[in-house]
Structures are given as structure tokens and as C-alpha cells.
Amino acid sequence: MNLPEIINFVIDLLAVLLLALGIKGLSKVKSARDANRLAAFAMLLSVLGLLSYYLGTSGIAIQSWIWIIIGSIIGSCFGAILAKKVPMTAMPETVALFNGCGGMSSLLVALGVAIFPISSSLENLDFFKSLINDVSISVSIFVGAITFTGSIVAMAKLQGWLSTPGWTQSKVRHFVNIVFAVASLIAFFDLINGNTSSIWLLVIVSSLLGIGVTLPIGGADMPVVISLLNSYSGIAAAAAGFVVDSQLLIVAGAMVGAAGLILTQVMCKGMNRSLVSVLFGGSLSAQSTASSGSGEYTNITSCSVEECALTLEAANKVIIVPGYGLAVAQAQHTLREVTKKLEQNGIEVVYAIHPVAGRMPGHMNVLLAEADVPYEQLKEMDLVNPDFPATDVVLVLGANDVVNPQAKNDTSSPLYGMPVLDVQEARTVFVIKRGMSAGYSGIKNDLFDMPNTSMVFGDAKKVLNDLIGELKDLGVGEK
């Protein structure tokens, strides 16, 4: 080992340590922000380490510098601008987009090495070595392509640019995906046999496989898919590490891959879905049409904003159940104003956060934090559920499936067993909703039929604005 190698080794070691500490810290509220910065610093360190290694050994040619600078400036600027501009409600699709680009990067590296074998890897290329080289290139391309197209599809679906085509819900899709998978296997073996041109087949078929697998998955399951794809992009990075012989890449990629898998598992648990049913089950609504789609609403009570305001004024304890509808309407700030008024009147206000409220676990916490809701008022499901019987009013804002009592009572319901908020235990429940349309799962919500439930129809933001007006008229929150 000469000096540059030793320095590079020490820097890599340090970077791995910092990255591990970063991931660890990100799983605790207190340390999360510092941990994120620590990880970012570790990444910077690793780049500097690699550059100094090349400067100390082979040197870096001028044209290499030029292309390094062009690539990094363009990539960083776009990333930074998007990160600053994107609204908090669009977080899930943003993460998906970033993730897809990471996969694309691994794909391109492997593709580049495959087309033009870099000089050093050509030295003493015995059979075993070239086999490893081919396998790691194939894995990197395969996983990278799936990550890229899968993430882009996930993003498009979350943005509403893409709906779930009907045919993808039939059994045909399994056949189509199996064809893609088999074709990529063929391309893989062809590549190992020395037929370099089959690499293009591999790129195309694995891209199609990414689309084919992600397209049938319903919107409700998207967070799980994004988390899984995130894990894939780690695997792609690790495979790229084998391609270019970098231990740091392998460690970091493996770490992200494994951590992503655990996170995916945790998310699945929160939604009471198994990973297998998410990936191969199609969207929930398709399964449910047979079982519970028959239910018509029979006992809907709708009420005006005024009545709602009167009931709220008389309450002692109010629990707010925010859902994705609130986020879509960008009404979290208006909601905060309403609750401020109630608090000034001495009414106890708590926000009940279902583990998968919003579109991604933790998404709702982020949105409410943005609207300056004190952290202590956010209560997780298990903590808040015993409180409902002693609650006067529950305001359900754009949430649906997470408050469906079917999950507890109806064994035939596809939702059965999913942890839900027991809002029906409260004295009065107001559901603010645009119409009677079903939630993500497409399943009828028994809550709406209950005698203590009243529907307030309208856009969440508009209803809340009206509510502020009504509360003002009643003199709530003014001294």
C-alpha cells in the first residue's frame, strides 16, 4: 500500500462510519437533522477522498475535469432547485424522482463499463474475473433500470399523470411480467457468453419489467413501493461498486438496501399489508368490488358549517383526524387557525395521526409541522384511541380508510385487521369531504352511515375558512 491508497482507505473508513451514524441518527427525532447533515458531509468526504486518490496516483486529465464539473454542476443545481421549490404535499413523488435518478446513474455506469471496458479491469482478465465483471454489470443494469422506470411510474401515479389501466388488474399482467423477467434472464446469460450487444436487450426488458410491476399497484400502496425501490437503488449502487471495484460503494449501497428493506417492512406493518400482496395483489379496490362493493349508504346525515361551528363551540375536547384530502387542499394552515381559535376558548385540541395518514408514513406530521402545529398535540394512533369515548367532537378532514370501522367489525372486508382510529366512539363526528366518493381502497366507509356522524360537504380549505367565519360570529377565540 502506498500513501494515496492509505489515505483513501482511511477516508473511506471514516465515510462509512459517518454514513452508518447518519442512518442511525435519522431514526430518532432529536438527532435526525444533524444526522442528515452528517451523512451529507460523509458523502462530500468520500468524493474528496476519491479525487485525491486519483490525483495522487494516475492523475486526472483536463478533459475528465471538464466533464466532472459539467455533470456535477448541472445535477446539483437541478437537485437543489427542485428540493427548494417542491411543495411539502408532493414529497412522496419527489423522493420517487430522486430515487429513480439514482438508479439511472448506476445503470449508466454499468452500461459505460460494458461498452468500453476500462483499462484497469482488462488487466489479467481470467475467466473467473470476467464472469464476476459481467454478473455485476448485469445486476447493476437490471436493478438500476427497474429502479428508474419503477420510480418514474410511481411518481407519475402519485402526481395523477397516470391512472391504473384496466388490463393491468387482470391476470394477464403476471404473464407479461414473467415474459419480461425471462427475457432479461436470457439477455443476462447471452451477455455472460460474451455477446455484448445483448446488453441493450437487458436494458430494454428490465425497464419494461419496472413499468410492468409498478403500474398495477394502487395509489394507497405507493409509499411501500417507493420505499422498496429505494432499497433497490441501494442494491444497484452496491452492484456498481463491484463493477468499479469500490468497497465504499458496496458498503454504502448494501447499507441503504438493507435499511430500505426494513423500512419497507415497517411500513407494510402499519398498513396491515404484506409485501407480497402489495407487489402482486394489484390495487385494493379491484379485490374489494366483489366483497363489500355492494354496500349503499342508507343513513347519511349532512349538515351545514354553522351547525358544525355550534357543536364545536360547546365542546370540551376535540380531536382532529387529518388525511390526505387535507394535504391536497393545502388546508393545513387554515386548520391551524381554526384550532387556534378553539384553543383560545379553552377547548382541548389533539391531532390523531394514523401511521399512514397522508400518502406516506410520517407525511402528515411533516405537513402539520409546516403549519406550526405544536409537536405535543400530534398523537399517534395507539395513544389516542383510548381517548375517543371521552371526546365531544371529532373532525375528520379528508381521511377515509383510516377511520373505517369495517376494519374492526367486518371480517369479510378487505380492510379487516388494518389498524384504524376508533372515531365512532366519540359523541359527534364531523366528516369534511368533497363528496361521497370512496377512499383509496375504494371501499364503503361504514362510519358515514352511523347516527353520530354528520357529513359536511365541500373542499377542506373552503369549509375550514367558512368555519373560521362562523366561529368568529359566535365569538369563539376572541377576548
Partner: protein, 97 residues
């Protein structure tokens, strides 16, 4: 480095990843995912290696550069977005005073 030792690195790295995340509060799922996602942009090192070793090969230089761009888009964007999310959590205590 020999293939076998690289496999060891892969194995130990995976085990480390499995151990790192034990209990995560649901609040942090999105930031954690986004942060881990930024780290997966570590392939930028592979892109850098590609560019440095490309020599005079223009196609390879361009492929490497595009790859580097994609990776940095992931890394820079990912860390910024995570920081933005986490900033909202940490703002709370100071506001209460």
C-alpha cells in the same frame, strides 16, 4: 481487492444496514426514506471513476458525466429535501418560548 473480500464487505454492509434501523417512529419514515435515498446516490463515486478512467474516449466521458449528473441530482436534492422536512420538526421547541 479480491472478489471474496468484496463479498465479505457486501455481507457485513447488509448486516449493518439491517441493524441500524430498529425502532423508527412513524413520524420519521418519510425523512428516513428520503435520507437513505440520498445516500444511495453514492454511485456518484462510480461515475467519477468512470470519467477519470475514460481517458480520451468522448462517449465514455459523456456517459460518465450524465451519470454523475443523475447521481448528484439524487444526492443534493435528497439531502436538501430531507433537511427541509426535518427543519420543521426542530423548529417547534424554539417557537414555544
Amino acid at each position: 481487492m479480491s472478489f471474496i473480500s468484496l463479498l465479505w464487505v457486501l455481507l457485513l454492509g447488509s448486516l449493518l444496514g439491517l441493524e441500524l434501523i430498529g425502532k423508527v417512529p412513524p413520524t420519521l419514515h418519510t425523512p428516513l426514506m428520503s435520507g437513505a435515498n440520498a445516500i444511495s446516490g453514492i454511485t456518484m463515486l462510480a461515475a467519477l471513476t468512470l470519467i477519470v478512467k475514460a481517458g480520451e474516449n468522448l462517449t465514455l466521458l459523456i456517459i460518465g458525466s450524465v451519470s454523475l449528473g443523475f447521481a448528484l441530482f439524487n444526492v443534493v436534492g435528497g439531502f436538501f429535501v430531507t433537511d427541509r422536512m426535518l427543519a420543521m420538526f426542530s423548529r417547534k421547541p424554539s417557537n414555544k418560548k
